[in-house]
């Protein structure tokens, strides 16, 4: 039996396909349309999922959608009614799109699916899951646990912004919810907006900026914006937020509380923004820890599964893991709304159709999250030739040795192998790699390759078996969703002068033997690389270790700022020719920048809208 899961019409549309409960394929629409956070119906992602299984749409038994539009509409109407007449402008702007399209979502889905298979009535095959039910299903069903507590936190779904469930076998019972407008995700987004970043994509930047600042506003936030109870449940003071009725996240009272207006996007960052970021991060961590501890005690569970956009906050995740209230923490790699497609499908299979679930000997069911398209070597060669690339085809051994050698020489490498990752992180199949020992690598990658803000940190990929020799973590972190400190023996002691530096000045001080991935607070967003799920990447890091003694690489997503991660060999070649990546490896093809036709170089920096 085939089940198709869909998330769409909000942000990060995606499709996921199950065959008899096994995840066959999953991909975000943005990768195919090249439009970041594409919210349209995921036609191309569906086409890909079907082609991966070698079937047509008529073989699909059910289509599961990841949220319930009527409940969203109910939340909207009740919110507007409770604030009326405030919010009229927002109401007048919202209603046309709802009354024209979103209320008719079932028939809209039917119409869109008919584009793939005309003369077929999909209405009978459509299933709808609640937004947080989809998140919870995406967190529990593919997890390596027979039973677990499941915590989902995001901006908002229908009503829920935070939910607690408990999973046993193939059952998932939703126990508690915190409802809109009280939302941890929206609190974080309010500060994302206030510090001058884009809501729904700039949250990572706030998290990356936090270690440069001091949490001097934490008490102001706790005293005025959020009331946190001992069990981690919370309530926001809506006097300071505008998102219920207005077109902004925060209001004038919020500005007055923090002594000034929101930062204008792209304006220079000051210590104030860094301190604001550190403060909201601090508050978020306090809430997540309090919730974690109370859930562990109340539910008597040793395993925790996480999903929802807030679960992408790997700093908070790392603290929760280190706190020890749960023995094991598993986080869905596509924790955002894209993962809702997978959750809706898995929920339909296990909950609606009542199919049992088997836990796969301690391993999760995500296959390393390598669930996207891959390309055969002959196809890669044909595609690259058509794009005008000049490449050399190497054997597996030569390719690994040559790439490791280029990395050790300090080159930035585009690394494109196997199936594309599902979720926001590149995990060694669509990655730009570098030498973490280089003190200039972070700046080089940020400014000349990724064209993004220089404060943003990079993450390390480390051999799974060596992780505890380099980082303060002794479990696997395959999805780059846990932050841990670099081990003391690899750190560099700072001078008194260096310790006194403030904010962004801290960036220029190498703080360990792997400075490119060591953040200013000695933390790193660790990805452990397993031979089981990604043997080629494991072999590359092993070869680099043989050469240098360091089993760690810098791993950042293969894209520039504002661009979706590359999907096809052509995307990779375009990005390579538009940036200062020096070597590109696609399958067994190796390309050097100097050997390419200079006419194919393009101005890539401004090709994408900034995120």
């Amino acid at each position: 039996m085939y089940l198709l899961g869909i998330s769409a019409f909000y942000h990060d549309s995606a499709a996921a396909l199950l065959h008899d409960g096994r995840i066959v394929a999953a991909a975000q629409e943005e990768r195919f349309t090249r439009k970041k956070h594409d919210a349209g119906f995921p036609h191309k992602a569906i086409d890909y999922c079907l082609s991966e299984a070698g079937i047509a749409l008529d073989k699909i038994d059910h289509v599961a959608f990841y949220d319930k539009p009527f409940l969203k509409f109910e939340r909207l109407l009740e919110t507007y009614l409770s604030f009326a007449p405030r919010g009229y402008r927002s109401f007048a702007m919202a209603m046309p799109i709802w009354l024209k399209e979103k209320l008719f979502q079932k028939s809209l889905l039917n119409t869109e699916l008919k584009k793939h298979l005309p003369d077929f009535n999909w209405s009978e095959k459509l299933l709808f899951a609640e937004h947080h039910q989809s998140h919870a299903a995406s967190a529990f069903f593919p997890s390596p646990f027979e039973e677990a507590a499941v915590l989902t936190m995001d901006g908002v779904g229908e009503w829920a912004t935070t939910s607690l469930a408990v999973g046993h076998g193939h059952h998932l019972d939703m126990l508690k919810e915190i409802h809109f407008p009280h939302s941890l995700g929206l609190l974080y987004s309010a500060f994302t907006y206030y510090t001058g970043f884009k809501v729904n994509s700039g949250e990572y930047k706030v998290m990356g900026l936090a270690p440069y600042g001091e949490p001097r506003f934490s008490s102001v936030i706790k005293d005025n914006l959020i009331d946190i109870k001992p069990d981690g449940s919370f309530k926001l003071n809506m006097d300071y937020f505008d998102y219920c009725t207005g077109l902004r996240m925060t209001n004038a009272k919020f500005d007055a509380l923090f002594d000034g207006p929101a930062r204008t996007p792209e304006k220079m960052l000051t210590q104030r923004e860094m301190d604001l970021a550190a403060s909201v991060q601090d508050v978020l961590e306090d809430v997540v820890l309090a919730m974690g501890r109370s859930i562990a005690k109340e539910q008597n569970q040793k395993n925790l599964c996480l999903a929802g956009g807030v679960a992408l906050n790997c700093v908070a995740n790392g603290k929760l893991l280190r706190d020890g209230c749960f023995e094991n923490v598993w986080i869905q790699p596509a924790a955002g709304d894209a993962g809702g497609a997978l959750g809706a499908a898995l929920g339909a299979w296990h909950q609606h159709l009542d199919n049992p679930r088997t836990v796969n000997g301690g391993h999760d069911a995500m296959a390393g999250s390598y669930l996207g398209p891959s390309y055969e070597q002959a196809d890669i060669e044909q595609r690259l030739s058509a794009a005008g690339a000049k490449f050399t085809v190497l054997s597996d051994e030569d390719l690994t040795a040559r790439t490791a050698s280029d990395l050790a020489d300090g080159k930035g490498i585009g690394w494109f192998q196997g199936r594309m990752e599902f979720g926001p992180r590149a995990l060694g199949c669509r990655s730009i790699l570098g030498d973490p020992r280089s003190p200039t690598m972070q700046k080089l990658l940020n400014l000349k390759v990724k064209y993004r803000e220089s404060f943003r940190p990079f993450a390390p990929s480390v051999l799974e078996e060596k992780v505890s020799e380099w980082f303060e973590i002794d479990c696997e972190s395959p999805y780059m969703l846990l932050v841990a400190d670099v081990k003391a023996e690899h750190r560099t002691e700072m001078t008194e002068e260096e310790k006194a530096l403030f904010g962004i000045e801290k960036l220029n001080v190498p703080r360990s033997s792997i400075p490119a991935i060591t953040h200013v607070d000695y933390s790193a967003r660790v990805q452990t690389v397993s031979k089981r799920t990604n043997p080629r990447y494991h072999a590359l890091i092993s070869a680099f270790e043989e050469k240098t003694g360091c089993p760690v690489l810098v791993n950042t997503s293969f894209n520039v700022r504002g661009e979706p991660i590359v999907c096809t060999p052509e995307d990779a070649f375009r990005c390579f020719m538009g940036t200062e990546i020096e070597t590109l490896v696609v399958g067994n093809c190796l390309m050097e920048k100097d050997a390419q036709d200079p006419a194919l170089k393009q101005d890539y920096k401004d090709a994408f809208e900034l995120d």
Binding site: E74, L76, L77, M93, P96, L99, L103, F104, S107, L247
Partner: protein, 50 residues
Amino acid sequence: MLDLFKELWSYFRVRKKYWLAPVIVIMVLFGGLIVLTQGSAVAPFIYTIF
């Protein structure tokens, strides 16, 4: 449109939100007018709207 009203009816029953019925029905009827009179409906990107 008939399908929509059927679904709305089951929604009111399940959620026991009958008091929302007149609001929604009037809005859906007005929505029909909007569809007839307006070319496109574009919403700004804020949470409450979606």
